[in-house]
């Protein structure tokens, strides 16, 4: 899939926590409908970068543009409107435990987007159907498996019609046999043309579904390219070392 226009652009992004520099000069572009995978060792700043894209984390300097809007310039009190355009899926799902699955998917539609309740409910059921969980609409999150909870979390984000979806290690907290169901939903999303930026360790999935893979280490983007190229012919020593470590783990 060739990108017609840029949906998400990160330019010269830096993030410092006190004295620790987590992100040092990150540049990254994600085209409309593109699925970009971010890989790298833990502590390389992947999640921090992702969290800067909806300003759950405040960048120290640099610019981020989403759908041609410079979101790094938005004053703090106007962030809510911007966040409606950016869906986020967390490693730990974070469904609201006191609400039914349906209410989880409806809440922000009604309170943040201002949809009417019947409209929000119809949309929520539609989204739950898309992730194969319409029959669980009345269940509480605690009654679902981890994979099901994560699919509800995806539906919750999608219901707001975001322009970009951010995935922060969406399958890392799941039992191996539940990973597939979540990846399947993500793949279907890609086919529908959703723009996605994914931080994950699912190398096989990256190889299969990503348009581009970005390798980060030590707060820098070290290397990026199509998955075949990056995995098949890594250029930097750091990426080579990382890939051999990861495949070593997989073999073990």
């Amino acid at each position: 899939m060739t990108a017609s226009r840029t949906m998400l652009e990160i330019h010269a992004l830096e993030k410092r926590f006190d004295q620790t520099e987590v992100l040092k000069n990150i540049d990254l572009k994600v085209g409309e409908g593109e699925l970009v995978f971010v890989i790298g060792p833990s502590g390389s700043g992947k999640s921090t970068m992702l969290r800067c894209c909806n300003r759950l984390e405040e960048p120290t300097s640099g610019a981020i543009m989403i759908d041609r809007e410079r979101i790094t310039d938005i004053p703090r009190r106007d962030l809510d409107r911007m966040r409606l355009k950016v869906g986020m899926v967390f490693q730990g799902f974070h469904l609201y435990p006191h609400m039914s699955v349906l209410k989880n998917v409806m809440l922000a539609q009604v309170k943040a987007l201002g949809r009417s309740k019947p409209e929000a409910q119809a949309r929520a059921l539609d989204m739950l159907d898309q992730v194969g969980l319409k029959h669980k609409a009345d269940a509480k999150p605690a009654e679902l498996s981890g994979g099901q909870q994560q699919r509800v979390a995806i539906a919750r984000a999608l219901a707001l019609d975001p322009k970009v979806m951010l995935f922060d290690e969406p399958t890392s907290a799941l039992d191996p046999e539940l990973v597939g169901s979540v990846l399947k939903v993500m793949k279907e999303l890609r086919e529908k043309g959703m723009t996605m930026l994914v931080v994950s360790h699912e190398m096989a999935f990256a190889r299969e579904a990503a348009d581009r893979v970005v390798f980060m280490d030590g707060g820098y983007v070290i290397e990026q390219g199509p998955p075949d190229e990056l995995f098949g012919n890594p250029k930097s020593d750091r990426l080579k070392a990382f890939l051999s470590r990861v495949s070593g783990n997989e073999a073990a």
């Binding site: 759950l56 962030l79 869906g87 967390f90 609201y96 435990p97 006191h98 809440l107 922000a108 943040a112």
Partner: protein, 222 residues
């Protein structure tokens, strides 16, 4: 026979029953007013504290600490016997209502605040990431969870505080204990005190049963 004559004297029961029923009404409405005010204002204070203003929070914490540290009887006596010197005359019932409401408010605030701090950061982030404001995330996501976590300790505190309406007997409020103990002096019989004990049981045993049901209803597994 002597036992029954002492604790269940029928003629004494007949004589003082109407007074005691009226006293039950006083105890009951003081208790209900205290619970409503204390729990609602305690919840409001906890939410206000979550807004994170340093000066406001200092005042809330001071208030909560003082109300929890002081014996309620001390506050009751100060308000009832001290305030008239400042030209503020409060009825005994008003004093009981104010003091117990403030005490319950302080405990409820601490219980709800404890609940709010144990709501995970992820819950807040999930709310904010879907475009909800901080206040909306507090009201729809964090506080309902804090409330559920707070129910068991809150129920205990509500029962303990409402039973303190008996302190009204010290300042002449016509609630169950004061009515029955003056009846005891007049009649020379212990029967009114038995009646008081029964009256408290009639009010509080249903309350205890209701509290179990509330706890069950709001329980959920994570």
């Amino acid at each position: 026979m002597r036992f029954f004559e002492t604790f269940f004297n029928l003629s004494v029961i007949e004589k003082y029953l109407p007074d005691l029923i009226a006293a039950m009404g006083v105890t009951l409405y003081l208790a209900v007013a205290t619970i409503l005010t204390g729990v609602l204002c305690g919840a409001a204070l906890a939410c206000l504290r979550a807004a994170g203003n340093r000066y406001v929070n200092f005042i809330i914490i001071m208030f909560a600490d003082m109300m929890r540290a002081l014996p309620p009887l001390v506050l009751i006596l100060i308000l009832f016997f001290g305030m008239p010197s400042l030209g503020i005359n409060l009825s005994g019932e008003m004093v009981i209502y104010l003091v117990l409401s403030c005490v319950l408010m302080a405990f409820a605030e601490e219980i709800f605040w404890g609940g709010l701090t144990s709501v995970t950061a992820g819950q807040w982030e999930a709310g904010r990431a879907t475009g909800l404001s901080k206040a909306q995330t507090l009201f729809y996501i964090a506080f309902p969870q804090a409330f559920r976590m707070g129910i068991p300790p809150l129920v205990n505190r509500v029962l303990a505080t409402t039973k303190l309406t008996a302190l009204g007997s010290v300042i002449g409020v016509k609630e169950i204990l004061s009515v029955s103990s003056s009846a005891q002096s007049f009649s020379g019989s212990a029967t009114p005190l038995t009646m008081a004990a029964l009256a408290y049981m009639i009010i509080f045993i249903p309350a205890v049963i209701a509290s179990h049901q509330i706890e069950r209803r709001f329980r959920y597994t994570r």
